[in-house]
Symmetry: C2
Subunit: 351 residues, 2 copies
């Protein structure tokens, strides 16, 4: 790997043209005869010329902006992790003279998502990163992006269109399958409580549907006779949570009670269990929210399946920066991040 620095001047000299011409060829800015174009291309190939990224950044004072469209968040909740990752990558991006902005929307309100989208479109960004929740509106949005030739990356979950530049997220179906294995762990399981959000019942697009399918498939394969009970709660109303769980747990249970939730809100169940002082449960949930980890430590939750949402977001920003600055193609289009199994013994080292 001989890394002698070939400059644009070396290429120009070797090709018998000026650096201006070489530059035009490099950036496809036209105004170059076919002959010299080919000559330059050949010389570049022969000499193995690689542009110096830093000189390039220095010279071109382009102002790129990346916009991230994600759900609103509060400290400690799921999306705050994604926001954290974005914040962290901001500095890296800034080194390349790239600004990273964030536009948030209410994940329960499609209208607010549409507003966010048009705001983004108006700002005319160089690249967009999307955490999609509303299928139809998102598809419309990305179509407009494509039309304007703006690359976009999905994070967390992705849609079925094919124009996206990259995707970073967890394999949802598999995570459900894994979850079932961890919850049951070879025990004799008769009944499983699946706690869900009420809106799942409506037509809303539920990002965890694939996860639930994976879970149920595992149960079908390994525990065909086990009963699954869906408990629908309103996450914003602790009283409702308590009422619904009281109802579900009304009939007594010999042995362990198996409880699972497919979004990040298992801490709601924990709050309930703690209030009622209910023990003898095996509880598994997702995502490393503060509260969830606390429940892991206190023993109310036996395992969490986690992903580095912050790292996902950071990777997305980095990928976009690379694409913008170096014009590099994606390494991989779909990047499935690993599924981490957390228990009370390894959660303290999960950062």
């Amino acid at each position: 790997m001989e890394q002698t620095k070939i400059t644009i001047n070396d290429v120009a000299k070797a090709a018998g043209v000026s650096k201006g011409t070489v530059d035009r060829v490099l950036h496809d800015r036209g105004e170059v005869s076919r002959k010299s174009r080919e000559k330059v291309l050949r010389v570049i190939e022969e000499l193995g010329y690689k542009p110096n990224v830093y000189a390039s950044i220095l010279a071109s004072q382009k102002k790129h902006t990346i916009v991230c469209v994600i759900p609103e968040y509060s400290p400690g909740d799921f999306w705050s992790l994604t926001a954290k990752g974005i914040d962290e990558s901001r500095e890296t991006a800034f080194r390349y003279g790239i600004t990273v902005n964030m536009v948030t929307y209410d994940q329960y309100d499609a209208e607010s998502f549409r507003n966010a989208c048009s705001e983004v479109l108006e700002s005319n960004p160089s690249g967009v990163i999307i955490a999609p929740m509303f299928r139809m509106d998102t598809l419309k949005f990305v179509k407009e992006l494509s039309a304007k030739n703006i690359p976009y990356i999905y994070i967390d979950s992705k849609l079925e269109d094919e124009d996206y530049f990259a995707y970073f997220g967890m394999p949802m179906y598999q995570s459900g399958y894994l979850c079932a294995d961890i919850l049951t762990g070879g025990r004799d399981v008769r009944k499983v409580y699946i706690v869900r959000i009420e809106r799942d019942k409506m037509g809303y697009s539920d990002p965890t549907v694939a996860r639930r399918t994976g879970f149920l498939d595992y149960m079908m394969n390994h525990y065909p006779d086990t009963e699954t009970v869906n408990v629908f709660i309103n996450p914003k109303d602790p009283k409702d949570v308590a009422a619904k769980l009281d109802e579900a747990f009304a009939e007594p249970c010999d042995g362990l009670r198996y409880i699972v939730m497919f979004n990040s809100r298992i801490h709601l169940v924990v709050d309930y269990l703690r209030n009622r002082d209910i023990g003898g449960c095996r509880v598994v949930g997702f995502d490393v929210l503060e509260k969830n980890v606390a429940a892991l430590r206190s023993g109310h939750v036996q395992a969490l399946i986690a992903q580095h949402s912050d790292r996902q977001a950071a990777s997305a920003v980095t990928a976009m920066v690379d694409r913008l600055v170096l014009g590099s193609p994606v390494v991989r289009k779909d990047n499935y991040t690993q599924m981490d199994i957390l228990n009370c013994y390894n959660c303290d080292y999960y950062m």
Copy 2:
């Protein structure tokens, strides 16, 4: 966050000096009166001047070299992962005009380590990354590095000196504790086979000793009556492995046989089990070698505890690059990487 670019010239003007002086202050090159030095410093503070890294890299044609000292490796073994991480970070480093070299040594031969060290010292690198195996020799080595003012980073395991610039590795004791929890999993465990390398018996420094301690502590706390059997094998001789394991497994066992290994070589046990067609074992090991993951898939191993050694190495290189180029201090000195629990359901997404 107003990110207007303040240049060195702005600072110079505001401080009533020339950019040359500002530069001297920035790099502590002396030849600046105390008065103007303070003035410049104050102005830098006030204006919030941040040097443009890329202009800086462009202008300073320094040739930095980072050397990584790690054990020899063959495709598929533990250290090849570390080597992979180093290779991957090489490109990033090169963007900053930094060369990354690798010097390997025989992890069973202190003499070869010493040779590697003197080779490194002669090459006069800008920074060194060490995966230590021989305590005394390493301490001597890093003392010489310190004397020459060369920063060094430990990876994988670290020593008790305090001059190291950073450390990237797994919390070894905790990983042993976790391992015991996964191996036993609340079952009724009477006896555990701990398979070890013969050299552990000698005075060699065993990097997994803390891990074993963690394991045994867990057992003491949760399974005080469980017997642990040490089986010493020669990893290079399959026949010896078979003989020793035959001997250990001679007496019959009702229920599961619990087997564990604290280094990356659990696949040796798997080979044995497969040859002898022995089932009914619960096997837990460490590290995601090809062979280990295959054993996970085939069901011969129930769980692996893994770390991203490649990422560790890459992080180490990045940290060194940052230190060399940006002169940035470490974010954290000790970086404990997470412990990943792998089973057959999530290992395919572990990269």
